[in-house]
């Protein structure tokens, strides 16, 4: 059946089975592999995307349910050339280790700051309750969200996020964009 999606600002019409999950439509049909599948049982949040602007677990939504609606994935939050303050803050605060949970974590954190631009540490933890991380112990994730919140509230340029994070040593240069970072389908779609 036909599914009419707006993903990261572009429209896509897919002919899919009703049982296709949104996460598989995004990854397999649209090549947007930034959205991960962790648990596949609605628990870990690795598959989090924004549906009409609010965070949802895309492993627990059928693509047909999203037809006529607007989806934003991590690729639509920002890319290597223009990182979203949240992405920048996760990078500079070392809010990730293996990175598997990170894209879902960032999407959830963006949703959290939409609703609460100045959350306390407890509110950050509660706001990320739907996202599990097996590496970091969460401490630097909270630091990153706090830093991103500050940068976004100040409306400051993305570089100020790094200045707010002196604890973690010198900042790395941005990784080269292109191969190995952004899937080829997205390079075409996004630029």
């Amino acid at each position: 059946m036909n599914v009419d999606l707006t993903v990261n600002g572009e429209t896509a019409v897919l002919d899919v089975e009703p049982r296709l999950l949104l996460v598989h439509a995004l990854r397999d049909n649209l090549g947007l592999t930034g959205t991960h599948v962790g648990c596949d049982t609605s628990s870990c949040g690795a598959c989090t995307v924004l549906l009409d602007g609010v965070s949802v677990k895309s492993c627990t939504v059928f693509a047909v349910q999203a037809s006529g609606h607007v989806v934003t994935t991590i690729e639509g939050i920002g890319d290597a050339d223009e990182l979203h303050p949240m992405q920048e803050a996760f990078w500079s605060s070392h809010g990730l280790q293996c990175g598997y949970c990170t894209t879902g974590m960032i999407v959830s954190a963006v949703d959290l700051l939409q609703r609460n631009p100045d959350p306390s540490d407890d509110e950050i933890r509660a706001g990320l309750e739907g996202n599990l991380c097996r590496c970091t112990g969460y401490e630097n994730i909270v630091t990153a969200v706090r830093a991103a919140g500050r940068a976004m509230r100040d409306g400051a340029a993305r570089h100020s996020v790094r200045e707010l994070m002196p604890l973690h040593g010198p900042t790395l240069e941005p990784p080269p964009s292109g191969e190995g970072i952004i899937p080829p389908q997205f390079q075409e779609a996004g630029r």
Binding site: M1, E17, P18, R19, L21, D40, T41, S42, S43, G45, T48, L51, V54, S55, V56, K57, T60, V61, F62, V64, Q65, S108, D111, L112, G127, E129, G130, N131
Partner: protein, 288 residues
């Protein structure tokens, strides 16, 4: 995990949904937020041949406060309830339950109608809705009817809903001296024990109490003996509140699972009932 193949249709109105349910028979299921049904379909514990998506039906996602009566549309999401200041002021017991349910993504999708219809023994709303003595409005093949919460929650995954019924709204009287507290399962977030208290206060003394528990037995239930024991109790006397809440789970057979034994659940029922009473009493405007 991929569910068994099914057909998908969208209902445009409540009447349309009832008509589609009759047309497709027992093999059809309504789909609201999908946050109980889709996980079950992925595990192939549910294999409906047709899903009737009701999420787009207009006017079913509202919280209306009319005098002292609150009416909530069945498609209202947990997130909308958790963010409702009107609900927080008029019936904090349900607001508490919405805020403690699942996680943000689950709250963004799941609906109060779906959570009630599903009849999960560890769900949060059933206790709150029993304590509120809520009325459920149901549209079915024979027209519209209303059922009280006491008759709605029947057993494990069992409610008063027939296979061609659509739950449309849930209504109850304002209950400002009310609270829901929960011992949540650390992984699933569901209630190991959930306790709801709705109090009528005379100054600092309880005039009447409705206490309901979730997570313990096959379905949420009212703790009748605790309700009578709480009458005339001075809520400043925490030992008296605790004593009145003893044996809260007596009316139900407490389930045992890998996380909590039945005896532990029953013991926690007393503790959480007393906490709910204390929190509810603290919310009374006419505090001493």
């Amino acid at each position: 995990m991929i569910p068994v193949a099914f057909d998908y249709v969208r209902a445009t109105s409540v009447d349309d949904a009832v008509r589609l349910l009759r047309e497709h028979g027992d093999d059809a299921k309504l789909l609201a937020g999908g946050h109980s049904l889709i996980p079950m379909m992925k595990l192939r514990l549910a294999t409906p041949a047709t899903l009737i998506d009701i999420s787009g039906i207009p006017q079913l996602n509202t919280v209306a406060v009319n005098g002292g009566r609150i009416t909530i549309g069945a498609l209202t999401t947990h997130a909308a309830l958790a963010a409702s200041d009107a609900l927080r002021a008029s019936a904090p017991v349900l607001w508490d339950a919405a805020n403690q349910l699942g996680d943000p993504q689950v709250r963004n999708r799941g609906t109060i109608g779906g959570a009630s219809a599903h009849g999960d023994p560890a769900a949060d709303y059933p206790a709150a809705l029993l304590a509120l003595d809520a009325t459920f409005t149901i549209a079915g093949a024979g027209g519209e009817r209303q059922i009280g919460a006491g008759d709605f929650f029947r057993g494990m995954f069992e409610t008063a809903l027939a296979s061609t019924d659509v739950l449309t709204a849930i209504a109850f009287d304002a209950a400002p001296a009310s609270a829901y507290v929960k011992f949540h399962h650390p992984a699933s977030h569901y209630a190991v024990v959930g306790a709801a208290a709705v109090l009528t206060m005379n100054g600092g003394t309880i005039g009447a109490a409705r206490i309901a528990l979730s997570g313990i037995g096959d379905a949420a239930f009212r703790a009748g003996s605790v309700e009578s024991a709480l009458t005339q109790v001075d809520t400043a006397d925490s030992a008296a509140v605790r004593a009145a809440c003893a044996g809260a789970a007596a009316g139900s057979e407490a389930r045992s699972d890998t996380f909590a034994s039945g005896a532990y659940r029953a013991a926690m029922a007393d503790v959480f009932a007393a906490r709910a009473v204390a929190l509810a009493a603290g919310r009374t405007k006419t505090r001493r």
